[in-house]
């Protein structure tokens, strides 16, 4: 498998060189103040000859795509996002209520802390990569920290259960998604349970899927399939703003954060040809990578202050008609069986339940072996299933 270096840009050609300099900055927050020359483009080019990076890019290293289209966005929209996140998904509530009294529950990617404390007989520790969201949790009295779901700062085998609710679909490579699942299992005790939910390709409201903006070309490391690195020509696709109708952030779980659109920009929708494990969604395409818009009302944008930088950088656009700053959030939506496939290679977890509910794929895992750094003292007791 070929890797490409991390020093590529989401933006178009005119800014390649400036972006390459900026990538060296360690602090992800500075990425929100990049100054590209033009419209945000999906960068097509692969830099040839940087193959030595393949082993040095850690799966724990955050790709540019996530920094710009997940981290920056959530940081900018945190209070508004939190205000729309109050409806508790019955399946998650049921899972949490089913856990034994006095359990220690770890919520990785807890967002605004919606599920923290849901079971009053249990104790929750939440973490999220977004400091503004974690601040919102802390203000409510929850025990939380800022951390990365791909590299949890927790001791092995400590927790009783873990949840990952609508988190993994923001990870842009399969290896990172796998790693995040391994982390969830690692940090809980043998016999402990993990609940994972992710957005599904198979949306109950099919029209929604077609209204998101597909990423038409993949430039993340593992999407470049085996063979020589490919240098694509200057055929960048432009993400134009999608005129949208209402902000539908209220209501039940399915509606959370999904924006209805009036007219979908006719972006060219190429089927990725080099994804070995591509899944075919019900509409026949292999498309699983999307930008899903978030409308941040102007008055909210002014309060947060982050939007001025984002607008200058092309990370967000103004929609005067709606009086909102429009951000795009990156999603890798999951196909049927994909979660199971990610888990299939794990030797310390078994699937005890899997289901589809309200446009989400869900899975419950049970940890079966003690997590060990070295396999000398392998637990030989039989699996609990």
């Amino acid at each position: 498998m070929h890797s490409i270096p991390c020093n590529f840009s989401v933006f178009g050609y005119p800014v390649i060189s400036s972006s390459m300099k900026e990538i060296k900055v360690k602090d992800a927050s500075t990425l929100c103040t990049l100054l590209p020359d033009g419209e945000p483009h999906i960068q097509q080019s692969v830099f040839v000859g940087e193959e030595q990076r393949s082993s040095s890019i850690s799966v724990k290293s955050t790709p540019e795509l996530e920094k710009k289209y997940v981290h920056c966005v959530y940081d900018a929209i945190a209070p508004h996002f939190s205000s729309t996140r109050f409806a508790k998904w019955p399946k998650v509530s049921a899972f949490l209520e089913s856990l034994p009294t006095g359990s220690l529950i770890l919520d990785a990617g807890c967002g605004n802390g919606k599920y923290l404390g849901l079971n009053s007989s249990c104790y929750f520790i939440g973490c999220d990569i977004s400091a503004p969201l974690i601040k919102i949790c802390a203000d409510k009295g929850h025990e939380v920290l800022v951390a990365d779901a791909v590299n949890l700062p927790y001791r092995t085998n400590f927790g009783d259960a873990a949840i990952s609710i609508a988190v993994l679909h923001h990870l842009s490579t399969e290896n990172r998604r796998k790693k995040a699942i391994e982390e969830l299992v690692r940090v809980i005790k043998k016999g402990g349970l993990v609940l994972i939910t992710v957005w599904a390709v198979e949306q109950e409201d099919k029209s929604l899927l077609t209204k998101w903006t597909p990423l038409t070309e993949k430039y993340v490391e593992e999407w470049i399939g085996p063979g020589s690195p490919r240098v694509r020509g200057p055929s960048a696709f432009t993400l134009e703003s999608i005129p949208e109708t209402e902000e539908n952030g209220l209501g039940g779980h399915t509606k959370d954060s999904r924006e209805n659109t009036e007219n979908m920009h006719q972006s060219m929708c190429l089927t990725p040809e080099n994804k070995d494990d591509s899944l075919v969604s019900k509409d026949g395409s292999n498309q699983q990578e999307y930008f899903v818009p978030w409308h941040l009302p102007y008055h909210r944008a002014e309060v947060s202050g982050a939007s001025a930088g984002a607008l200058a950088n092309g990370l967000a656009k103004k929609d005067d008609k709606k009086g909102a700053v429009v951000y795009n959030r990156y999603y890798h939506v999951f196909g049927e069986g994909e979660l199971e496939r990610l888990v299939s290679g794990m030797d310390n977890a078994v699937i005890i339940d899997k289901f589809y509910d309200k446009s989400n794929w869900c899975i419950i895992l049970e940890k079966t072996l003690l997590g060990l750094k070295h396999l000398q003292d392998k637990d030989t007791s039989p699996s609990l299933i």
Binding site: K26, S58, K60, S61, P100, T101, G102, S103, L104, S121, C122, Y123, I125, C127, I129, A131, I134, K135, A138, E143, V144, L145, V146, A147, D148, N151, L152, P153, Y154, R155, F158, G159, D160, K373
Partner: protein
């Protein structure tokens, strides 16, 4: 940050083989009362690394914990111990300060009670 959280946290910097327990630098400690949950305390007690917990509580200014972990049955028989355990575990908050990787010395800041455990690019 409560000492329960301190007891689960470990430095995950690349190359660190023993990142637990994190050192604690105290700038501000706050006490906040919370109801005792006996089931939780019974469940969590065996998980706690007692030495790390006892050392940390001293750093936070609380010296009432025994040096050695008592037998678990003490949780049911000794109400005084239960209260002390509860207090140190859940009612002491490190509001401002830092957590320190025991191997590298790298400091993870704690502000407004929130630890920031995010690593820099060169630490992953």
């Amino acid at each position: 940050m409560r000492l329960l959280t301190h007891n689960i946290l470990s430095s995950n910097i690349k190359g660190v083989t023993n990142g637990f327990p994190l050192g604690i630098e105290v700038e501000k400690v706050v006490e906040k009362q919370v109801e005792i949950n006996h089931d939780f305390l019974r469940n969590i007690f065996p998980k706690i690394d007692w030495k790390a917990f006892s050392d940390a509580s001293k750093i936070m200014g609380y010296v009432e914990l025994p040096e050695e972990a008592p037998e678990p049955s003490v949780l049911d028989s000794d109400l005084d111990f239960l209260r002390k355990f509860h207090h140190a575990l859940l009612e002491l908050h490190l509001e401002e300060g830092a957590l320190v990787c025991p191997q590298t010395g790298r400091k993870f800041p704690v502000n407004k009670g929130i630890p920031n455990m995010l690593l820099h690019e060169d630490e992953v």
